[in-house]
Symmetry: C2
Subunit: 145 residues, 2 copies
DNA sequence: TGTTAACGGTTGATTTTGTAACTAACAACA
DNA sequence: TGTTGTTAGTTACAAAATCAACCGTTAACA
């Protein structure tokens, strides 16, 4: 019983966004997975530390909106694999500062370069104006100002 | 060690798309979960059948790019809950045709209405032109023509 | 036909995520 | 101080996604 109105699944924003997100993350996922055995949560934590420097898990949560259990586990794995270290905060011993190790910074630099290149590849089929509008609209939808 | 170049995580398309997708699907997820106890895979299958009519699991896979095990399990649950039925294909007994039951169609109509309304709400902060460009760009990124 | 490969779909084992309850530390304030 | 509430982060358990192996059926073709 097909419908006869204007609604199409391919045009429903949550669906469309999800398809675009999934498709566009495939190739990058392959890189961080193959080169460093990382999961999505892990490269995200790595990038937060690489971009913004020393942060606590809480800071990362505030910036990324990832759930704290995800962050906790990502940090654990990154620590085990020597991509980051924890430093106690003497002023508030509930939290710890996270810092990338030399190895972590190297991985970050590598993946950062890949990400930059990949981002341009993704944007290639779009005109400059389309790209500008797309990013602005996505930022609105993601409520990131 | 903060970077000093133009790359920002909040602007990396796979990340940005994922944030927007996640944020924008939250409210709709609440509806199909609360009203029908469905998972994302399940409303997707429901919508495919509601929009396009009788399909095989394979058809749904081709249209949605969902993995076949996800579809298999979604179909199983939807059948258990009497939202759809399976009909053998005598010409090829490997596959089965899937049809929504009366109950399945009712759920589809209900959620379809919700989705339509929700889509407009999401698009509200965007101008007509922004919305048009956004959808076109997303379709390109999702490689859906 | 008989054999082999491919296909549609399912199942089971493993990994990853989500949810809730928990620990330890801090804050507020009587 | 001490009691109560909150916060940062972890852990345990359940739910779900992933991956490989599998079954029955169909296709290809010697």
């Amino acid at each position: 019983m097909p419908q006869k109105d204007d609604f199409d699944l391919q045009n429903f924003l949550p669906y469309l966004l999800n398809q675009a997100a999934e498709e566009s993350s495939l190739a990058f996922q392959q890189v961080y997975k193959d080169r460093y055995g990382m999961l999505r949560t892990e490269w995200r934590v790595l990038f937060h530390l690489g971009l913004y420097g020393r942060l606590t898990a809480k800071d990362i949560g505030a910036r990324s909106k990832m759930h704290k259990t995800k962050i906790s586990r990502a940090v654990q794995r990154l620590e085990e694999r020597r991509f980051l270290t924890r430093a106690p905060d003497d002023a508030d011993r509930r939290q710890e500062y996270l810092d990338l190790t030399t190895q972590g910074r190297a991985a970050y630099r590598d993946l950062h370069g890949v990400a930059q290149g990949y981002d341009s590849v993704l944007a290639e089929p779009l005109t400059a104006e389309e790209e500008r509008v797309l990013r602005a609209a996505l930022r609105k939808l993601a409520r990131m100002g």
